[in-house]
Symmetry: C2
């Protein structure tokens, strides 16, 4: 169900995105097109499009913004994959694994520029005032995300092993809450001309949704599933601080804590499969995965309840039903 909704959005947004990408067969053009052509799920693009429709906007008014946000995602993923020393993205090797870190950063910069050039064309489509509001919102969100990224990089750089649940949620609220959920939904709502009160209602349910989404994502990373586009246990290799890690760390014995700290102090490439398995076993031993899943379930329920309550005044359109399906999928996804 959710897959069809996402694919429908992709079929509308990709033809708007593609013409902005360099066309040549030279290495630079091929490299810049690489992540965009892998496409991903188009979850954020779908939130923009469906939110616009939910608030009564004409569908085609949201496609360019959705495409631009997608270009922004492609830039951010390229730079993040370099930051995290990740190996796989959307079932293929990460861009820096193919072309090297320097080239990859350069390709990300190109997509970043392309994102703004798309948003400038919103001025003709939506008028200057509205287009400008969207640009400012995206600027504010991405600058905040960059700061959140800095905080997370520092946890790894400084080997902060005792990250608390509060620290974790601070990062999640910025990166998954604001960037992945709140801003896309608000962008769609703004395009449709929704009220300030509706924009605030979005924040209410999108915050628990962002938390549920991120915890699910973290849990999925511990499973070996073909549908998941990244390598299994990548988060542990990359030293990511997750709810499972903080829970296991607080509950395990001092000697286990010492061993975990040693493993997390190692760089990605220095970690052995045995060491990573040790951390996974510890998370299982202390029921840390269940602990995290309980959080995810509670937040998912909260998000859906708030959505149903806050938007009960809106007509039961197809867009509303699709958005609810998508929210449910994001909050409870198993792939």
């Amino acid at each position: 169900m959710a897959k069809k909704i996402l694919d429908d959005v992709k079929a509308k947004v990709w033809p708007v995105y593609q013409p902005y990408l360099p066309k040549g067969d030279d290495e630079f053009s091929v490299m810049v097109r690489d992540y965009p052509e892998r496409q991903g799920k188009y979850g954020r693009a779908a939130l923009i499009c469906l939110s616009n429709e939910l608030f009564g906007g004409k569908p085609e008014r949201a496609y360019l913004t959705a495409a631009a946000y997608q270009a922004g995602e492609d830039w951010i993923l390229i730079h993040d994959d370099f930051h995290d020393e990740s190996e796989e993205r959307r079932h293929l090797p990460c861009l820096h694994q193919i072309y090297g870190e320097k080239h990859a950063v350069n390709a990300g910069d190109a997509l970043h520029m392309i994102m703004w050039s798309m948003l400038r064309n919103n001025h003709q489509l939506l008028g200057e005032t509205l287009a400008r509001t969207l640009e400012d919102k995206i600027h504010e969100t991405l600058l905040t995300t960059t700061k959140g990224q800095h905080v997370e990089l520092n946890w790894i750089k400084n080997n902060c092993i005792g990250v608390t649940d509060d620290d974790y949620f601070y990062k999640v609220d910025i990166i998954s809450g604001l960037y992945t959920i709140i801003t896309p939904l608000q962008l769609g709502a703004i395009i449709a001309g929704a009220s300030e009160s509706d924009l605030q209602k979005i924040v209410k349910f999108a915050k628990p949704l962002g938390r549920a989404f991120q915890i699910r994502d973290d849990v999925l990373n511990l499973l070996e599933k073909k549908e998941y586009g990244k390598e299994a246990y990548g988060d542990i290799y990359e030293g990511k601080r997750t709810l499972m890690l903080t829970h296991a760390f607080i509950n395990c014995t001092p000697s286990e804590q010492e061993r975990v700290a040693e493993i997390y102090a190692k760089k990605r490439k220095e970690k052995t499969a045995g060491e990573v398995a040790y951390v996974v076993e510890l998370m299982k031993k202390y029921d840390s995965i269940k602990y995290a899943q309980k959080f995810a379930e509670d937040y998912a329920k909260d998000a859906l309840n708030i959505f149903d309550k806050e938007f009960s005044h809106l007509p039961a359109t197809q867009a509303k039903q699709d958005l609810r399906t998508l929210i449910e999928y994001m909050a409870m996804r198993t792939e």
Copy 2:
């Protein structure tokens, strides 16, 4: 003389730039402010401001564009210094040397966003059509620069030691010609409402100026001078392809060629001071520095002659005199 002109521009543009930078004492904000606060020469900003005045524009209409271009320079320098594994920038350690490569790339991304946010405020200052023209020109230039950067990264990555003068000038025309000279001058001219014919005249003299400027920059890198904000011989450590290298390589013996190729195949940190000195000596032995300097002198003369001829119809204002002084300095600078 040129220094006073540059400092005067800096005194006007920096107060416009500064309010856009993050203000906190947290590490992220401090890091993002770092390169902007080091300031550099403001050469590109000065070209924008003086070109605007040359064509009769009110000075204050150009400051925001100059400040935005400066923010763009700060982003590009941060990413370039990471690309080149450079050590010093504006007399201090490069940003990635202080905070690590990942943090530095992130700070560059923030300044990139800030650049576009400044350019959006041009809409109020200059009206939508003009502001949009400036944004599109900057987009086009920076995307081309990114591609030029890719070409240069590949020379180093693939150890292309036999780069020709033509290859060298291809890169120089993009990075030093277009990005450093042509676009800043055209931006100023566009703000002032100059004619399409004047924009084309700028290209005529700015191309040789870009070449003279870059060759001077390359030669300066071989001198140990306090005024120069980067480490001496940095270009050789970084494996940069220069006119001196291509000349020495073509003229030296096969065994010398082999040795040079070996040295250039090494990564920056693997090169010894003795190996770098060997390359410098070879450049001296084959008069490669003189060869390059002759090119620089010829291009400098060309640039000044074309400037005088093409813009003889413009009144002999202070701005015209200052711009000529600045052009002369950029073409013939010894620091």
